[in-house]
């Protein structure tokens, strides 16, 4: 029958010529909106409140950071304080911990000292694999 043989001129396929354009449009959208997260830093674990531990002075290395960026280092059982630059702390810690493996770093930062100096000292200690670090604020 004539009606059955009649063919439509309209194509029955989905046009795919513009597919690449759509893909590129979406691609550019995601390229522009993407922000790669920058979640990096120096991790520390704060002591829980009211958690105070008595430590023998012998096992403490007092590290005091001054506003001008100089760092005073003194062993708990001695009166002699030596002064260093923040980036030298790594070496200082390595020599000290070689003599006393139970050493704890007591970092005391002056309230006016820049945060950067504290980070440099903490960086040095973490590079030297120091695990027991206490952060305090000194007296202004």
């Amino acid at each position: 029958m004539a009606i059955l043989k009649k063919q439509s001129k309209v194509s029955d396929e989905i046009p795919s010529a513009s597919m690449a354009d759509i893909a590129f449009l979406l691609l550019i959208f995601f390229l522009v909106t993407t922000v790669f997260p920058k979640d990096r830093g120096l991790p520390i674990v704060l002591p829980e409140e009211q958690e105070e531990v008595e430590i023998s002075q012998r096992n403490i290395l007092h590290i005091s950071i001054n506003p001008d960026g100089t760092v005073g280092v003194r062993r708990g059982d001695s009166q002699n304080e030596s002064f260093h630059r923040p980036h030298q702390i790594q070496q200082v810690w390595r020599t000290e911990v070689a003599q006393n493996p139970n050493l704890i770093a007591g970092v005391r930062t002056h309230p006016d000292a820049a945060h950067r100096y504290m980070i440099q000292v903490l960086d040095g200690l973490q590079m030297a694999n120091a695990e027991r670090i206490s952060l305090q604020m000194g007296e202004g």
Partner: protein, 150 residues
């Protein structure tokens, strides 16, 4: 060599001089899927701070939902979630997040390199008061060369 056809000047190469474009859509889709998978839409905007640098910088090993950002600017202003918050309010904001995260919350402390330590210490005390214990001092990775120049 044949002398026919003007000494080779009219010889035509069979290789097409067009860049093949049939795989263009595939490349575009590949890149598209990569960006779709890696995209994280930003929830809060960054504050203009100078990042301190550290060589021991490491990636925070926690999902984004369990990281809370606390910004400390040079003048001591504290920003959380795009809002300027007073110092005393920090612990009230941290405490519910700490419980919600099942004691896994990491506080990313983004303090300006030049901010006086008193502000950093005050915020640290607030965090401790809220019961949270995991703090990460946000830093940029430092190159060894730059360290030696310092």
């Amino acid at each position: 060599m044949s002398l026919k056809g003007g000494g080779g000047l009219q010889r035509k190469s069979k290789a097409s001089d067009q860049i093949p474009s049939s795989s263009l859509a595939d490349i575009a889709f590949l890149l598209l899927i990569f960006f779709m998978v890696t995209t994280v839409f930003r929830t809060e905007s960054d504050r203009p701070i100078e990042w301190p640098e550290a060589e021991a910088t490491q990636q925070i090993d926690e999902t984004r939902d369990n990281i809370m950002y606390v910004w400390i600017e040079r003048n001591g202003d504290i920003w959380i979630n795009d809002r300027l918050v007073p110092l005393d309010a920090v612990s009230e904001l941290v405490a519910p997040r700490w419980v919600e995260s099942g004691r896994r919350l990491r506080i990313s402390l983004r303090a300006d390199a030049e901010a006086p330590y008193r502000y950093v210490d005050a915020v640290q005390k607030q965090i401790q008061q809220a019961g949270a214990i995991y703090v990460v001092f946000a830093t940029d990775l430092e190159r060894r060369m730059m360290r030696e120049r310092r």
